[in-house]
């Protein structure tokens, strides 16, 4: 994940470059380091550097890294001719390279020739069975073709070997949620929380999945995870606040007969409701009446 200071640095560099202030190379290096996906900017500024022979020669050996970066950005923006030119230049320079082979396979994938790309990836994997990027590209291809079950299968096999790759777990969780396989999605989110316990995003997503699964125990757990999200974000996450309100009202509906935990829960809910109202008053005052009616209906039904 990108930290806040890195994000501000990136944005300020981006502003500077966009307004003609130079520093394009540092901007591109920072994007490469942080692995951010800003392909249109990369394409624009990268091409401006590459088309200018003076600037290109000052890069020295980094020129080839820039070619690779621009090729990938071009494929992302569907400017396939630009990508093809870049790859051709790279191929001339590095005739035997597997890295260039990977780029060529990606170009086939971008063009939409799935079988050729699949063949290219499989042959690349035979030479180098531990290349993480190629594995992930195969999953992405299966997903793009709409073949979600195959994507899940590939991703699971990838995770059997590379089980500490939290990006892959995240992707798997999102696929499962899209297929409504919530139990499996919950497992993936647990893995993510284990590896990065201080990222509120995962707590929130896990709480959402648990709330969707329903059932007394899951609702109680979901409420706790919404609370931890609020704790981690300092009360600013609107979704978590709504989550608390919904969870509490669902819980009280389920436990209508038993009055034990009413007192503890209602404080959190009323606090969350107050914070929501305050937030809406500040940011979206015209929606405030809708919010109050919704919250009142929640408390009424509980």
């Amino acid at each position: 994940m990108v930290t806040k200071s890195e994000e501000t640095q990136l944005n300020s560099l981006e502003n500077q470059v966009d307004n003609g202030g130079g520093g394009a190379w540092e901007y591109l290096c920072l994007i490469r380091k942080l692995k951010v996906r800003r392909s249109d900017k990369v394409l624009k500024h990268g091409l401006s550097i590459l088309n200018d022979p003076k600037q290109r020669s000052t890069l020295g050996n980094e020129e080839w890294t820039l070619y690779e970066q621009v090729a990938v950005a071009a494929m992302d923006c569907q400017c396939l001719d630009v990508a093809k030119d870049c790859i051709k230049v790279l191929r001339k320079r590095f005739p035997e390279s597997k890295r260039v082979g990977r780029l060529e396979a990606m170009l086939l994938e971008a063009k939409g020739s799935w079988e050729l790309a699949e063949k290219a990836y499989t042959s690349l994997l035979e030479d180098n069975p531990l290349d993480q990027i190629i594995h992930k590209r195969r999953v992405a291809m299966a997903k793009a073709q709409g073949n979600i079950s195959v994507a899940i299968e590939w991703l699971n096999k990838y995770l059997e070997t590379f089980m500490a790759d939290h990006d892959a777990w995240r992707e798997l969780a999102e696929i499962y949620v899209s297929l409504q396989m919530y139990k499996q999605a919950a497992f993936c989110y647990e893995e993510l929380i284990l590896s990065q316990p201080t990222v509120p995003l995962y707590h929130l997503a896990y709480a959402d999945v648990l709330y969707t699964l329903g059932g007394l125990e899951n609702l109680q757990t979901a409420k706790k995870y919404y609370a931890s999200t609020i704790d981690l974000t300092g009360g600013k996450n609107t979704r978590a606040l709504f989550g608390i309100c919904l969870c509490t009202s669902a819980l009280t509906q389920l436990t209508k007969g038993k009055n034990k935990e009413d007192k503890e829960g209602s404080q959190l809910q009323s606090l969350a409701a107050k914070v929501l109202e305050k937030d809406y008053k500040q940011r979206a005052p015209d929606k405030l009446p809708q919010l109050t009616t919704a919250l009142n209906s929640l408390t009424l039904s509980s």
């Binding site: 316990p197 609020i230 704790d231 959190l268 914070v275």
Partner: protein, 253 residues
């Protein structure tokens, strides 16, 4: 290191020539040798094709470690599920049956490539160190080079004052051999600045690695297994509700 210039009652006055001709040249030489060693290692390094099994084991260890550190953030059922998955006696991921423990060590010595790599790494470290040490001893011995700013016990005398044969000199006054050792361990920061962050030539780490090379994979697994077996699950989430209440109260007020 403090080259004392002010004359106090017990202090020795060290000639500034020592600083100019001993301390600085020694540091410069060590930096240059480090840079040279880096370039030589770049030339000599052979690309290692990672073994699938080793990669998988590394990832398993990472995941197990995450389980241990994040255990209090997931519900107890999930934790127990994963604990069994990792530590199960029959097919748990971390369980290594005793017969297989011997393999990595045997493999290390029988596999010629790995042995060559080990040799190269060790040689590239030992030879410059030995040569520099011999050079320091030959040229820069027999006089006090510097004064350490904090007092030391007498036991360090033999280590730090090897060339100085006066037993009455305070142990804080050391010979150039100790300056050499200080540079050896301390120049890592400088190398990471010069050579880029990942390429710092770190002797201390390499020396530690020399001690433990064969045993890392299998011992890592069983160590992680023991660690997970020990871990108790203390769910931190229930406290979160109270903390969230406090946070929200602060937001409202």
């Amino acid at each position: 290191m403090h080259v004392g210039i002010r004359a106090m009652a017990e202090d020795l006055v060290l000639d500034t020539a020592i600083r100019d001709w001993v301390l600085i040249p020694l540091s410069v030489v060590m930096v240059l040798i480090g840079v040279l060693r880096y370039f030589v290692s770049m030339l000599l390094c052979s690309s290692q094709t990672p073994d699938a099994k080793i990669v998988k084991e590394g990832q398993v260890i990472l995941r197990a470690r995450n389980l241990r550190t994040g255990a209090n953030f997931v519900p107890s059922k999930s934790f127990r599920l994963r604990k069994i998955y990792f530590c199960n006696e029959e097919n748990g991921l971390l369980f290594v049956p005793k017969g297989q423990v011997q393999n990595p060590q045997a493999q290390m010595f029988s596999d010629p490539n790995m042995a060559m790599d080990m040799m190269k790494k060790n040689l590239s470290m030992i030879i410059p160190q030995t040569l520099t040490f011999a050079w320091v001893n030959f040229f820069f011995s027999g006089f006090v080079a510097a004064k350490i700013p904090f007092p030391l016990t007498q036991r360090f005398r033999s280590m730090l004052q090897n060339g100085i044969d006066l037993s009455t000199v305070d142990v804080s006054y050391v010979s150039s051999r100790s300056w050499y050792f200080l540079n050896l361990f301390g120049l890592r920061g400088l190398f990471s600045l010069i050579l880029g962050e990942e390429n710092a030539v770190d002797d201390t780490q390499r020396m530690m690695q020399m001690g433990g090379f064969g045993f890392d994979p299998s011992k890592g697994l069983s160590a992680e297994k023991d660690n997970i077996d020990i871990t108790q699950h203390d769910w931190a989430l229930p406290y979160c509700e109270q903390r969230a209440e406090a946070v929200l109260r602060k937001v409202i007020s």
